[in-house]
């Protein structure tokens, strides 16, 4: 009897809460790589997203934002499947997606089949996504892989006096874009890239790749991420590797720098470039780091937000702030909202961000060096800040177009 009435009360209160607080909701779909090689990256992306919600709140005027998270595994088809599920089953109106390079190209193409909806890129960084045939309803508030390498090639050539380097990278669009940015600048300064090795995403056994590294170079550039990077470093240590290293934006990142085990110590002193630097003094960066640290207990987060957390934070910020500008008005195929998104200038934690005519971010880039904080934790220390980096990397658009699209062999190692 008691049980029955309790159940009834619970049921009726549930119904009540449903009706009493009924208000218009705006549904937003979010995807992250919560499976596969990039799991750790996806998890920290979601942490950045939640930090943004903590700071900004979920209310837009009298409407409430409702978020639905879907998981992908960094392959383009998994991203399209997740996005399609969010649109068709969950009826979301806005998408915050995706995380990884190849996913970005696929989701951008998919966005064209739903011109009435708005797609805000969460963190993906392949150049092609916004550079080739961009979708009018796809907005990217983070820089691409090549922009994130600006400054690295010159610094390596001028300050570190590296003259010959070789690269190892995962075989997909984002890393092509990163190597594109690096090669363009390093070879432009007069350096030589003697060898480019590509390994499939999700490679576990790097022993043969490590054996094939040339030993007549000044440094080896690593464009790896997630589990691949950890595996590489572990096996590099076992093979007794001693070369100077340089790193891409997801290689020298908290996702790797705070991994367990001591193989990561090979990275101390490694030169890298990225859209953020862990130890930047800027107050809005410091505030973001603190917000991130306060939002999660220390064993459920990294010591400092990763690039993915920062990107998800910035994208969520754009999503909410632009929605507030139009007071949640999504009528007329979200025309007003899209206009607001295209115009918005973000005061993001990693510097000011505005969009170009392709709806691609122009932002700030950081050259960094890995340091040990004395207690065994590794951080990227800023050595150079480069503001206003655009997608053509400062080249004249016509010259830039002639270089070609990033791929295994493009660009050639020469001065353009």
């Amino acid at each position: 009897m008691l049980k029955g009435s309790l159940g009834l009360i619970a049921l009726s209160s549930l119904l009540l809460s449903g009706t009493a607080f009924a208000q218009e909701k705006i549904k937003v779909g979010v995807t992250a790589t919560l499976e596969g090689t990039y799991t750790v990256l996806g998890e920290d992306g979601i942490r950045g997203f939640q930090t943004a919600l903590n700071v900004l709140g979920k209310k837009v005027g009298d409407k409430e934002l409702e978020f639905i998270i879907a998981s992908t595994d960094a392959t383009p088809d998994s991203a399209v499947r997740a996005v399609r599920k969010l649109i068709e089953q969950d009826k979301v109106q806005i998408l915050l997606s995706p995380l990884s390079g190849d996913e970005g190209i696929a989701v951008k193409n998919f966005a064209k089949t739903h011109p009435e909806l708005t797609f805000i890129n969460a963190a993906s960084g392949a150049q092609e996504t916004t550079y080739v045939d961009p979708a009018p309803n796809f907005f990217r508030y983070n820089m691409d892989g090549a922009q994130w390498q600006v400054g690295l090639g010159k610094y390596a050539y001028d300050e570190k006096k590296y003259r010959k380097i070789a690269t190892v990278g995962e075989d997909y669009s984002f890393i092509y874009t990163q190597v594109f940015g690096l090669v363009l600048e390093f070879c432009g300064a007069g350096g030589q890239v003697t060898n480019r090795q590509w390994v499939p995403l999700g490679t576990k056994d790097f022993a043969s790749v490590i054996a094939a590294l040339p030993d007549d170079v000044d440094a080896i550039y690593l464009g790896l991420g997630g589990a691949d990077a950890v595996n590489f470093l572990n096996q590099y240590q076992q093979a007794g590797g001693k070369a100077h290293l340089m790193g891409g934006s997801i290689m020298i990142d908290q996702t790797i720098l705070s991994s367990k085990g001591n193989a990561k110590n090979a990275l101390v002193g490694t030169l890298a470039a990225s859209g953020q630097a862990d130890t930047w003094e800027n107050p809005s960066w410091q505030k973001f780091v603190k917000d991130y640290q306060d939002a999660f207990p220390p064993n459920k987060r990294f010591p400092s937000p990763s690039l993915l957390a920062t990107n998800y934070y910035g994208s969520t910020m754009a999503l909410i702030l632009a929605l507030r500008q139009v007071n949640g008005d999504l009528s007329n195929n979200q025309a007003k909202y899209k206009e607001a998104l295209a115009k918005i200038e973000l005061d993001a934690p990693n510097g000011k961000i505005k969009l170009d005519s392709n709806r691609q971010a122009i932002g700030t880039n950081f050259v960094t060096e890995v340091v040990d904080d004395g207690k065994g934790a590794l951080f990227s220390k800023v050595v150079k800040v480069i503001p206003n980096v655009n997608q053509t990397l400062g080249y004249d658009p016509a010259v830039f177009a002639k270089i070609g699209l990033p791929s295994r062999t493009v660009p050639e190692c020469k001065k353009y």
């Binding site: 919560l34 499976e35 596969g36 090689t37 799991t39 750790v40 996806g42 998890e43 595994d73 075989d171 090795q197 590509w198 390994v199 499939p200 999700g202 490679t203 576990k204 056994d205 022993a207 043969s208 790749v209 490590i210 054996a211 094939a212 997630g226 589990a227 950890v230 595996n231 572990n234 096996q235 240590q237 076992q238 093979a239 007794g240 991994s259 367990k260 085990g261 001591n262 193989a263």
Partner: protein, 336 residues
């Protein structure tokens, strides 16, 4: 051996030539022309050694899989989950006690216990129903994967290599001769050699146990005819439980090995399940020497492929599987 030569003289000649070429490639100093054509000998030798040591790891996973299949006709698709579970247990033990050896023992015991549970609670209820077992184990592998994701998170774990195993050693294999006449020897990670040696020892021990002991005789008899064996008074269910425990325990050990020279993360369970399926299909279902041969072939194909045809490296493994299925569908060393 002699019978094989008598029956297939042409094939025997081809095999002998291939072995001779392989030995020459490994032991001779390569002439400069060859180095220019296919790259440095160091890279080739490393790829071969990596293939063999990776094959050792695959063998550890696949031998348990094939053992269970051989006796019980159970396709245990949760085998990959046992691998990952063993790895996580090994990580926990080595992180808390600092002992690498102890992590093997505990991982073996705990995964063997899970195996016993699986056999008693799941497989015994659906003996002889292949499809049902397959579906249930697929379901279980998904449940296990989510439970482990919940308990351990999506992080990568690496089991600390003990300090006496870190770093490379020089092997007495020439890779080149410097212009000064000084020989250059192959440097190779010690931990991989040790792990390979251990898997060879385990493989030989398993073969001896199966072929030279009484319990092995019972197991082999069970593979051939379960019902008659049960009718002679052998307690077949106990044998089943023992074999299942051993197979699961081997997967657990493999998890520790994999966590030491690669890393542990969600998704590894599926990868190793797939690898052991391919190995067992190539080598022949239910045969331990077959698992060894299959593991060696797949390991070598993966590593040589990743060096010489990186773009298509993933395809090579499956190409081999397709070829074997087309030419010898029962597997290379299957008995029947």
């Amino acid at each position: 051996m002699i019978r094989f030569v008598e029956r297939h003289p042409a094939w025997a000649l081809i095999v002998i030539i291939a072995v001779a070429v392989a030995l020459w490639l490994i032991f001779a100093v390569w002439p400069p022309g060859l180095e220019e054509a296919v790259g440095r000998k160091r890279v080739f030798l490393n790829a071969v050694f990596n293939g063999i040591t990776l094959g050792g790891l695959y063998f550890l996973v696949a031998s348990g899989f094939t053992l269970i299949f051989g006796l019980m006709r159970n396709v245990n698709l949760a085998h990959g989950s046992l691998y990952l579970f063993g790895g996580y247990v090994g990580y926990a033990i080595s992180a808390s006690t600092g002992s690498w050896i102890l992590s093997f023992i505990v991982a073996f015991i705990l995964t063997a216990l899970v195996g016993v549970l699986l056999q008693v609670v799941v497989f015994r209820r659906m003996e002889g129903q292949d499809l049902r077992q397959t579906m249930v184990t697929i379901g279980l592998s998904i449940v296990f994967a989510d439970l482990m994701l919940w308990a351990c998170g999506g992080d990568f774990y690496q089991i600390q290599t003990p300090s006496w195993l870190i770093g490379p050693i020089d092997l007495p294999l020439l890779t080149a001769i410097k212009s000064s006449g000084e020989p250059v020897y192959l440097r190779y990670p010690l931990v991989r050699l040790v792990i390979f040696l251990a898997s060879v020892i385990i493989g030989v021990a398993m073969w001896l146990a199966l072929n030279r002991t009484r319990i092995g005789m019972i197991i082999r008899a069970g593979v051939d005819d379960r019902d008659i064996l049960a009718a002679t008074g052998v307690r077949i269910q106990v044998v089943f439980v023992l074999v299942f425990a051993l197979g699961a325990g081997l997967a657990g050990i493999a998890g520790v090995v994999g966590g030491t020279f690669q890393s542990l993360s969600p998704g590894e369970d599926i990868r190793f399940l797939l690898a052991s399926l391919v190995v067992v299909i190539v080598g022949g279902m239910g045969s331990i020497p077959g698992a060894a041969l299959g593991a060696l072939i797949i390991g070598l194909a993966e590593q040589l492929g990743s060096v010489y045809i990186p773009t298509y490296a993933i395809v090579v493994t499956f190409l081999i599987m397709v070829l074997v299925l087309a030419v010898r569908p029962q597997g290379l060393l299957a008995r029947r």
